[in-house]
Every structure is written in structure tokens, then in C-alpha cells.
């Protein structure tokens, strides 16, 4: 089923993983303790960590279970919207200033049912709970009727598109196109305080580190091996008596919750959440980060997300016209020459274009 030559050597992979994890930890320390960093760069580091976490969550389901979701923005947005509601409630509670959203939504005050979200633990539980519930219901229905492969990809894409259309409506009640902005304070501290940006960025990096390590442990264990087996030959695994539905559903829900956490960390750092995070393009881009970094290796997702977004940040203000070409070029390059992502470069033995039909993990069944 799998062509051995195209699997990276285990040792190399281990090294990369440890390196990436260490780099994340180091970055967390640098961000938290190094005083010379500008607030802007701290913020960028924090955002990159959120994107990396998002990519990591997709890698679990795509890289390990072979199920490509083109709708992961949905879970990211759930986390983001819940924390947005929390921050707005918190702003009202601490500063007493009515946020813009009340005015442009034509409300008198924030809706009553947002009230409990003023407490952070409630918001956290809500974000994780909602993303888990949505993932569970959708996953259960899909995996039970054996929707997979390309079908699953398009259906999730349609799902996130529907969510985007819904959230763009003002009447849906979450700020419509505007979304939520104007967050004032977090844990009682105003956002302008320099420590806030550092704290958020360092937290994001630490969460990323923890997630990397936890996922790694999970994936080299029994669960991870079963997942890979499901990916490579689900029928055989089922006939061996394993309940693959439960496996797939488990990793799918885990992935959704991770994505929600990424959204939770991301929104306070950018100060806005709007339905754009639900656009099919963003969800597709997440898959692109994974593909560029290399799937099924955790570290690859992190590298891909950080690399792509770092280039994007640096280009969008200086040479904005260039960015789409760079991105398209990278994807085509990866698709044709480095099927395992840019980590292939480390091996210096790329699958050259003259060898078209090499099976990749997860591609066995369209």
C-alpha cells in the first residue's frame, strides 16, 4: 500500500519534531521574557502560534485519519465567536461602555443569554462544548453513512460556506458582517497594557507546545496506530473487529476542539471576529499549510502554518501583488515535487515529477 521510499526515516522525523517543539517552547520564553521585542512582533508570534495550532488540529484528522476537512474554519470560528461574546460582556462589566455592536445591531443592550459568558470558565466550557457537539453530530452522521474522501471534503466545505452565509446575516444575531470588535479589557486588564499582548502570545505558544506534545504522545500510542490503520485500510481493520466509527469520531471531535481553542486564543490578539474566518478559502488554506509542511507529522503542520503565514504577513504590506503568486507556486511545487511537504527538502531526494503515480498515505481511497 505504501511506498516505503517515500516515508521519511523515523529518526529524521523524531529530530524534526523535537526541534519544532523546542523552538515553540523557546519562542514562548523569548516572547514572555525578552523585553526588547516590539508589541507588534509579539502579536505576530502569538497569531502564528494560533495558526499553527489550527493546522495541527487539521493534521490530526487529515494526516492521521486521512479525512480531509475543508470546513475547519467552522470550529475556529466557534471558539472565536464565544470568546468574542465573552470579551464584549467583560468590557461592559469592567468599563460600563456599551460596545458598538449594540448600536449597529439595533439592540438596547447585549442579549441576556450572553450574560453567563462574562465568566471566562463558562466561556471556555461553552466554546469547547459547542465545537465538540457540532463535530460530534456532523461526524456521527457522516461517518455512519461512510461519507469519506472527496465527498467529505466538499460537504464540509459546503457546511462552512453555509455557516458563513448565516453569520453574514445581521438577523442571525452575532454582528453580521461586522462581527465583533472593540474589545476593551481581558481579565480586567485593558488591551493597551503591554503585558497583555505578551501574555496572550506566550499563552498561545505554550498551548501550542502542550498540544504538540499531547498529540504526539497520543499518536505514537495505540490510538494513533489504529488511526493510521483506518486510514490505510479501513475495511481490513473493521473485519479485524475494530469499531472504526468510534475511532474516526474520536479524532474528529478532538480535532474540532483543538481548532476551537486556536480560535479562542486568536481573537483576543487580533481584536476582531467576523464571518470571514468562515470563508471556504480560509479553511482551504489550513489544508494548504498542512500540505506544505507535510502531513501526518504534527511538526509539518506547525512548520507549514508558520512559514506560509510569515511570508503572508511580510508580503501583504510591502508587495501585496506578489503574495497570491507565491502561495500558488508553493502549493503547486509541493503537489508536484515534494508530496510529503517541504520536509522532503531535508532529505534532498524529492519525488521528481517524472514519477507521477506514487501513492500517498491517506490517498488510498478517493
Amino acid at each position: 500500500m505504501t511506498d516505503k521510499a517515500h516515508i521519511l526515516s523515523r529518526a529524521f522525523e523524531d529530530r524534526i519534531f523535537v526541534g519544532v517543539a523546542a523552538a515553540v517552547a523557546l519562542a514562548a520564553v523569548v516572547v514572555a521574557l525578552f523585553p526588547g521585542l516590539s508589541g507588534y512582533r509579539v502579536n505576530i508570534a502569538g497569531q502564528l502560534a494560533c495558526f499553527a495550532l489550527l493546522a495541527l488540529s487539521l493534521d490530526l484528522i487529515w494526516g492521521y485519519a486521512g479525512i480531509l476537512s475543508l470546513g475547519h474554519g467552522l470550529f475556529f470560528a466557534i471558539g472565536g465567536y464565544v470568546i468574542g461574546m465573552h470579551l464584549l460582556e467583560h468590557a461592559v462589566a469592567t468599563t460600563g461602555v456599551t460596545p458598538d455592536i449594540v448600536q449597529f445591531m439595533g439592540w438596547k443592550a447585549l442579549p441576556d443569554w450572553w450574560g453567563p459568558l462574562e465568566s471566562f470558565p463558562v466561556a471556555l466550557v461553552a466554546a469547547l462544548g459547542v465545537s465538540f457537539a457540532v463535530a460530534f453530530v456532523f461526524g456521527w452522521v457522516s461517518f455512519r453513512s461512510r461519507v469519506g474522501g472527496v465527498y467529505f471534503a466538499i460537504i464540509t466545505q459546503a457546511l462552512v460556506y453555509v455557516a458563513m452565509l448565516l453569520m453574514f446575516r445581521n438577523d442571525t444575531g452575532f454582528g453580521g458582517n461586522n462581527g465583533m470588535t472593540g474589545f476593551q479589557t481581558i481579565f480586567g486588564a485593558p488591551f493597551q497594557t503591554p503585558g497583555v499582548a505578551k501574555g496572550l502570545a506566550a499563552t498561545s505558544l505554550l498551548v501550542l507546545f502542550a498540544a504538540l506534545v499531547a498529540c504526539r504522545l497520543l499518536m505514537i500510542g495505540r490510538f494513533g496506530r489504529l488511526l493510521v490503520a483506518t486510514r490505510d485500510d479501513e475495511t481490513r481493520l473493521r473485519s479485524l473487529g475494530y469499531e472504526t466509527l468510534r475511532l474516526k469520531l474520536g479524532v474528529w471531535c478532538l480535532s474540532a476542539v483543538l481548532a476551537a481553542i486556536a480560535g479562542l486564543l486568536y481573537v483576543p490578539q487580533v481584536g476582531i471576529i467576523n464571518p470571514r474566518v468562515l470563508s471556504p478559502e480560509l479553511s482551504l488554506e489550513i489544508a494548504v499549510w498542512c500540505a506544505i509542511g507535510g502531513r501526518g507529522r504534527l511538526a509539518g503542520a506547525v512548520i507549514g502554518a508558520v512559514l506560509v503565514n510569515a511570508i503572508k504577513f511580510s508580503l501583504s504590506a510591502t508587495m501585496p501583488e506578489l503574495w497570491p503568486f507565491v502561495l500558488a507556486g508553493l502549493v503547486i511545487l509541493v503537489a508536484l515535487i515534494f508530496p510529503n511537504g517541504l520536509l522532503d527538502i531535508g532529505r534532498w531526494r524529492p519525488t521528481w515529477i517524472s514519477r507521477p503515480d506514487v501513492l500517498q498515505p491517506g490517498d488510498a481511497k478517493p
Binding site: A11, R15, G19, A22, R41, F168, I272, A310, S316, T318
Partner: protein
């Protein structure tokens, strides 16, 4: 972790860690060409995505205005350098790039945003960094930040005069209104204010109807059917108040004309409709529909002749991918904005935001619209003239009505 010795482990780890940490500590990726020399102005206009066709041209206008000022010797001994970007019609990206420009590129002021959504997303950024954003579009009002200069008009001095005109005997004595808008804050707020205004005039609630469509919606067949049904119902003359934006405008107008509705049947007041939206349409069947802005290309006066000439020359010179014979209000507003900023900076003798802001009081500028536009100490609004335009056969607007002077802007709506 069998095949992997300690040395290679340490080396890889160190290498990767350094790789990750370096960019954090390294000098900024976006480096200014000459650190001390020019003063930088940042543009937040998309050149891709649904707003690209409208916003894209503003980057060039800002550069053109900067060139004019530089040719006259610059400001406070510095030349102006305009930094452009592409927020790709993605609202959060406006905030992101705005933050980057203020914190990293150290721009003295930002010029940008078309939709109110993008302005609302940049607002917290300019407020937190105490920057200045010059916003060149007419908008829904109800906002008054010390960090935003509202170069164009709030509804009280743009939309309401136009609606008044439609309701007057000189117009069509409109009694009933079909509001169709893109689903976001600007159309919703405008319509809310209009409804309040009509209520204050004693118009029944049954005399209006509102519909919202998503951004870049294009299939208006059913909605135009609804408009026809509404217009033919009893109760007096019906007009359409169109607040869809971007590419939806030409789509709507085309379907409207194709279903055989002319301006003498049901006039359309396109609040965001500009000359650029009519590009590519057969406007012979749309003659007479209205828009309202603080500038129309047919405005009279030397300032306009000069502006149109500079734009045409500029497009020829730089090969900008826009029509050289089309000028729209937001272009002029951006042009005004750059000049207003330069005048304020000159007056203040500084580029510091608080100083520049203090200097706004009493500024006045000969706008291409033919009016002398001005600012007061009261707020960051600019008083502009009001034009009502009427679509003509040549994809432009004729001036149907214009205000005698520049009404004082009212930031907060009473409706």
C-alpha cells in the same frame, strides 16, 4: 527514537529553535528605505476581492496627491511616501495591516476603507495606537472617534437631502419605498434612520419594505419581481433606495433595466452607485436613476478641471489599470484627505498625531467639487457639498441638484 544520537538531536534542536527565535529578534521585515527622510502615509485599499475595482484606484489617487505636495516642496521639509497594501476585501486583514503600518512602518496617517465594516474593524487599531485614519466614504454616521477623520458626509448631509428631493413636488412625490441593501451595518443603519425619518413625517410603516442580500450577490431576478409587485400596489409613487455595494450594483441595475422598468416608472436612488459601477452597462435604459455624493464628475469649477487633468495624466504616466476619464467621489475624498492632512501637518509643524489633530480646526481646502470644504474644532468631520446626480446615456451622472453651500455635518443621527 532509536536511531538518533545526542549530538544530532542537539544540533537540530538548536538550529530549529534559533530559526524560530531569530525572526522575532531580527530587524523588521519591512524596512523603510530611508529611515529618517520621507514621512510615510499608509493606504488601506484592496486591490483584490469584491471591492477591488472600486478601492484599487484610491491607492493611485493618494500617490498622485502626494506627488503634487512633493512637487510643491513637501511638508515640514520632508517628502511624502505613500505605502500601499492589499487587504484583499477581507475586513480583519484591514485591521492587521493597519496595525502593521502604525506599529512597524510608522506611518503618520492612514487613508482607507470603503465599507463601514472595514472601518469598524480598523477603528480599535487606530484608537489603541492613537493613529489617524482618513475615511473617504459617505457612511451611516453615529460614530465620532478622535482617531478617524470622516472626510465624507454622514447621512444627514447626503442621504436625507436626496430622499427629500424624491419626496418633494420637484422630485416624484415619492410615497412608498423599497429598500434593498447588502446585509451589513451601513445599509441597515441607513435604512433604520430612513424609517425613523419617514415615521417623523407621518408615513405609515406599510409604505416601505426592506430586503437584504449578501455581499457580491448577483441574482436579482426575484427581487426585481418583488419590486415590480410592490411598485404596482396602491398607495402612491414608489422609489427604490439601493444600498447594495460593490459588484451587486451593476448586477441589480442590469436586471432592473432588463425587466423593462425605467426611471419614470420606479426611480432608483443608488446611495453607493458611482460612475465606475456603470462601466460595462448599457445606460440608455437607466437614464434618470439617481445617486447622491459630495462630488460628481460633472461638478463645475477650475479645481475639478485641474483634478480631472491630473488624474488623466497620472493614469497615462503610471499605466494604472483604471479609466483615466472616470473620477468618483471617494477618489476626490481621498485626494482631499491627503491635502487636508498635509495642511494640518504644515500648520502644526509636526507629524505627531495629537499635534496634527489640533491643527484641524479652521482648515479649508478648495475641493474639486467646487466647494470650499472645511473642518472645525468640534469634531473630525469635514463639511462637504451635496450633489444629486442622474444617470445619463454615457455611463456617467448629470448634476440634477446641488446644495447652495456646505451643510454642517451632524455626526449623530436623530432618527
Amino acid at each position: 527514537m532509536s536511531k538518533f544520537d545526542r549530538r544530532s538531536f542537539l544540533m537540530t534542536t538548536a538550529g530549529l529553535a534559533a530559526g524560530a527565535a531569530l525572526p522575532l529578534a531580527a530587524p523588521p521585515l519591512i524596512r523603510s528605505a530611508r529611515a529618517a527622510g520621507p514621512v510615510k502615509l499608509g493606504c488601506l485599499f484592496s486591490s483584490s476581492g469584491t471591492m477591488a475595482n472600486l478601492e484599487g484606484r484610491m491607492n493611485f489617487v493618494a500617490k498622485m496627491a502626494a506627488d503634487e505636495i512633493n512637487a510643491a516642496g513637501g511638508v515640514n521639509g520632508s517628502t511624502i511616501e505613500v505605502v500601499t497594501s492589499d487587504p484583499a476585501s477581507d475586513w480583519p486583514l484591514y485591521a492587521q495591516i493597519g496595525r502593521q503600518m502604525l506599529a512597524e512602518t510608522k506611518v503618520a496617517a492612514l487613508f482607507g476603507c470603503w465599507t463601514s465594516v472595514s472601518r469598524k474593524s480598523v477603528l480599535p487599531v487606530v484608537e489603541q495606537n492613537d493613529g489617524l485614519l482618513f475615511y473617504p466614504l459617505h457612511f451611516e454616521g453615529d460614530e465620532n472617534s478622535k482617531n478617524v477623520v470622516y472626510v465624507n458626509s454622514p447621512p444627514a448631509s447626503s442621504v436625507l437631502p436626496a430622499v427629500d428631493y424624491l419626496m418633494s413636488p420637484d422630485g416624484v412625490e415619492a410615497k412608498r419605498f423599497f429598500m434593498i441593501g447588502s446585509d451589513y451595518v451601513w445599509p441597515r443603519t441607513i435604512n433604520k434612520q430612513l424609517k425613523g425619518y419617514w415615521k417623523s413625517k407621518g408615513i405609515e410603516e406599510s409604505a416601505w419594505k426592506e430586503e437584504y442580500v449578501p455581499f457580491s450577490f448577483s441574482n436579482f431576478q426575484t427581487i426585481v419581481n418583488q419590486i415590480r409587485a410592490f411598485a404596482d400596489a396602491p398607495g402612491g409613487k414608489c422609489v427604490v433606495v439601493l444600498t447594495v455595494v460593490g459588484s451587486s450594483i451593476p448586477d441589480f441595475m442590469r436586471e432592473f433595466a432588463n425587466q423593462g422598468i425605467s426611471s419614470s416608472d420606479v426611480p432608483v436612488l443608488g446611495l453607493d452607485m458611482v460612475e465606475a459601477d456603470l462601466e460595462g452597462l448599457d445606460t440608455a435604459k437607466m437614464v434618470g436613476h439617481l445617486n447622491c455624493w459630495a462630488y460628481l464628475q460633472q461638478a463645475k469649477g477650475d479645481a475639478n478641471v485641474k483634478f480631472l487633468k491630473s488624474w488623466s495624466d497620472y493614469v497615462t504616466k503610471t499605466g494604472a489599470p483604471f479609466k483615466k476619464d472616470v473620477a468618483i467621489d471617494p477618489m476626490v475624498s481621498t485626494y482631499d484627505a491627503v491635502h487636508l492632512w498635509a495642511m494640518a501637518a504644515k500648520k502644526a509643524g509636526s507629524f505627531d498625531v495629537p499635534e496634527v489633530r489640533k491643527a484641524f480646526d479652521g482648515l479649508s481646502f478648495d475641493c474639486p467639487s467646487g466647494y470650499k470644504i472645511g473642518m472645525t474644532a468640534e469634531n473630525n468631520y469635514v463639511s462637504r457639498g451635496v450633489f444629486i446626480g442622474s444617470v445619463n446615456e454615457t455611463q456617467g451622472f448629470d448634476v440634477l441638484w446641488q446644495s447652495p453651500d456646505t451643510p454642517k455635518p451632524v455626526p449623530m443621527s436623530q432618527y
